[in-house]
Amino acid sequence: MTRGPGAGAIVSGLGISAIGRRSGISDVELTAASCRQAIADAGLVAADVDGITSIGDTALSTAARELGIEPAYRGGGMTTGGLLSPVMAAALAVTEGRARHVLVYRTVNMIGGDMTPREPAENTAASEDLSAAMDLTQMMSDVDDLLAADAFSAANWLAMHCRRHMSLYGTTKEQLGWLAINSRRNAALNPLAVYREPMTMEDYLAARMVSSPFGLYDCDAPVDGSIAVVISRPEYAADCPKPPVRVEAIGGASGRGGWFHRPDYPTMASADAAREMWGRTDLTPADIDIAQLYDGFTFLTLAWLEALGICAPGESGPFVEGAHRIALDGDLPLNTYGGQLSAGRMHGYWVLHEACLQLRGEAGERQVRSHPQVAVVAVGGGPIAGSMLLTG
């Protein structure tokens, strides 16, 4: 097998700020906290960092100035890897010799809905700013049509995927609930998670409806926070003070078909990203020890389980039922930090951070005991998708 793009890059450092609901801490302060921690964790000083990437509102120049660095390589924004594009860009940069250590960060300030337009203006193409920022108009080709139908939130858009999946395969509301319950159980063991009180199925089912069949606990929890990782060239593995986590394969998607025009709907771009990733490795779904799968909405995790080939189409609901198989001591521990549902919406970056912690054996009380060696990290929904296979 010829190694794919980015393969062999290592995650050398991890950093995470305080995570809170309306914390009042500025994005710059959160960014500085996670970045300084990641750089130190990698055994580096700021001056060693010669690359920086990110996605979102906290500009590269702002972060670089705060850290007192002037990295020559700067990348980021959204490409085919979806929200993980900056991580993938960093992996490419270090394996192609364009940088030695790339700092990647994601900082959020209570962002609303994973792709929800803020305050759409009347009678204008409301998605214009978003699609420009995302660089891939294909992914947003039918957003204007959804907004015209008074579907203003990704909760509406993805609830319709979920409804179709339920109709085709008999997926149930309770099966979605087991994902929320599993995440809450794991969050109880994560000191940084925002929601740690136990949740029962009764609690889950009693929550107010947001967009049927999604209730409040099918939706993730907006937070303030920042997560950073250092991606280093393969040669640094020998000097890295922490167990290096290796990038085995990455996959992305073009976003063809937008939000509701894929012929194979409710299949999403996640299927394309997973196919690309599996095409770049000799590993197979049976090799996965732990899965950290995006859960901006519960249903997205089911979609990823099927996209990744962990379950056959339509079988993800029964797979998570009872939350035994996906528990910390189950066959496939899932969203071991508490997910975006209970830990907080770090927009695809806590799944990455957690996968690395687990592969290092540094996840504390929630550490999976069976010494996981292979982790899958998968992020996105609708036409946006990126996945990574990591090895310890």
Binding site: D142, D144, D145, A148, A149, D150, A151, F152, N156
Partner: protein, 143 residues
């Protein structure tokens, strides 16, 4: 066959009209839903395209029957927009002309309890001035 025009209950966030999409959004004024169509190979297009993705011909606009089936749906219960008071019933409808010819819309004259996937629906147009927005109403028994 022409379809009824009804008054708009509220303003919508409507797409900017372009030469490519204008007939779709405005033809409801005549009570007809028109969709891009390839005269050469017969394919219909939503969203609009520059050229037919099958044969490369320039598409024309032609009237469709205005009937379809519910492909999927959701009832929004959260006030995401100050002007839109929930609950509002959002759906993707497949037009009868082609099994992949889908549009986003609202279902009217019904609630979620009346709706099933596959239910037959037909178009009505909301008058928004230049734009006549297509919404759908139950057409009769499920099929």
């Amino acid at each position: 066959m022409t379809h009824p025009v009804i008054a708009a209950a509220h303003e919508r966030v409507l797409p900017r009209l372009t030469p490519a999409n204008r007939p779709f959004w405005t033809s409801g004024a005549q009570g007809r839903l028109t969709v891009q169509h390839c005269a050469a190979c017969g394919r219909w297009f939503l969203p609009s395209v520059d050229t037919c993705d099958v044969c490369g011909s320039p598409p024309t606009y032609d009237a469709v029957g205005g009937t379809g089936t519910v492909f999927t749906y959701t009832t929004n219960q959260h006030q995401f927009h100050p002007a839109i008071t929930p609950p509002n019933l959002i759906a993707i409808v497949t037009l009868d002309e082609q099994d992949t010819l889908r549009l986003a819309t609202n279902l009217v004259n019904c609630t979620e309890n009346d709706v099933t996937i596959g239910m037959a629906v037909r178009v009505l147009f909301e008058d928004h001035g230049e734009v006549f927005y297509p919404v759908f109403t139950p057409a009769g028994p499920s099929r």
